[in-house]
Amino acid sequence: MIRRFALALLLLVPLAGVFSAADEPAKLTDKNYVQTRDYLLPKGDEEDWVKVEWRTTLWDGVIDAQNEDKPIMLFAMNGHPFGCT
């Protein structure tokens, strides 16, 4: 596991150089903490969908659509689409 994890981390461009040689034990450390965190967080266009003025429940949408005289578009998934789905 250790060797594979080291290799995996070395494939991360932002993490390159942070970890020691692949034959040394690699683990989450204070030194690679920030780079690992930033890799895990959304980046680039991964969160472009939040540019839409979403209501996060159908009924919030019904209330606003009634007030604004607009049609409703509902995106419905197993698991809330803006949580774990």
């Binding site: 690992t36 895990l40 959304p42 659509a65």
Partner: protein, 316 residues
């Protein structure tokens, strides 16, 4: 999960949505519960009848994209990750909307009056507590296809903590080098409900007896201008049948003594996962492989106020 990025990030779709009130919701509850919002959905969801294939019955998922009027009239539906399919749905639905008379488009009562009759997890949002957004992603490894969406998949969930739980995370005394453990019950809850292999899609939680280890130790690094800066270290080991997680934890926290709240609470979890569940798209990827999680305080935006996927397990 993919539609979040493939459809709703599309510029054409985003422009078309200006003529709509866009909303998102969890479909199982809408299709199965008796609350007013659920009855509203059940009134139109099966019109068209072909959303998820022929022969829809009670067990067929109603996942998809629907257009309707505030009065509950069906305008159209589709279940697609293709932006152009959804763009066509929006255009066609808008055309139908414009052909309707106002009295047919709108309800003859104020829907706000029904809010009190709607029971949903979001009403338990811990506004005086803390919410962590739990991001999950595979760590890079050899042999994956960069053109496969699964290679770069990212998912998230929310972990909630009420006011009492947040207070239980604090040490008895704030002083440099003070050490304490986060409460076992909370760490175990985070581990088995949120450190899941949901990178590619929903999965089931771990039962309580799957927790072989789950601990987070805290140590104050410094105290400056009323803010307590502390580090966190820990581990988690989960095993159930053919699946599991073996990971280490590091974290950083900042607690404002004056405001009596965490201004930073961040955990990074990296280790090996293995196995698969029915819907998490790991059927061809069951061997041990690296996975990572980053937990951070969520924003106040509505999209960050969605309930934890397994809220029913909280017992609140």
């Amino acid at each position: 999960m993919i539609a979040r990025q493939s459809v709703w990030s599309d510029e054409t779709v985003q422009k078309l949505l200006k003529d709509f009130v866009p909303c998102a919701d969890e479909v199982w509850r809408l299709y199965n519960r008796p609350d007013p919002d659920c009855k509203f959905f059940q009134g139109f969801c099966d019109e068209g009848g072909m959303l998820n294939g022929q022969g829809m019955d009670k067990t067929t998922t109603r996942q998809g994209t629907y257009c309707c009027t505030p009065s509950g009239k069906f305008l159209g539906s589709a279940n697609s990750r293709q932006p152009m399919v959804i763009a066509k749905l929006l255009r066609d639905s808008l055309k139908k909307w414009k052909a309707l008379k106002k009295e047919d488009r709108l309800l003859d009562y104020d829907p706000a009056d029904k809010v009190k009759d709607i029971d949903r997890a979001e009403s338990h949002y811990p506004k005086n507590g803390m919410v962590l957004k739990v991001n999950s992603r595979d760590m890079p490894r050899e042999g994956l296809n960069e053109n496969d969406w699964r290679t770069n998949a990212w998912n998230f969930d929310f972990a909630w903590f009420n006011k009492d739980e947040v207070e239980s995370m604090l040490p008895k005394k704030f002083e440099k080098n003070a050490e304490w453990d986060l409460p076992d019950a909370l760490v175990q809850r985070v581990a088995r409900l949120h450190l899941l292999d949901n990178v590619r899609g929903q999965t089931s939680i771990f039962p309580k007896d799957a927790v072989k280890a789950a601990a987070v130790k805290c140590k104050v690094e410094k105290i400056k201008k009323g803010v307590v800066y502390f580090d966190m270290t820990g581990e988690v080991k989960l095993e159930e049948g053919n699946r599991g997680l073996d990971a280490s934890i590091l974290g950083k926290g900042e607690y404002s003594v004056k405001d009596r709240k965490f201004t930073r609470f961040e955990l990074v979890v990296v280790g090996d996962r293995w196995g698969s569940t029915r819907y998490n798209a790991r059927e061809d990827d069951t061997a041990k492989a690296p996975i990572g999680y980053c937990l951070q305080i969520a924003s106040d935006k509505p999209t960050d106020k969605v309930a934890p996927a397994s809220f029913w397990e909280y017992g609140w």
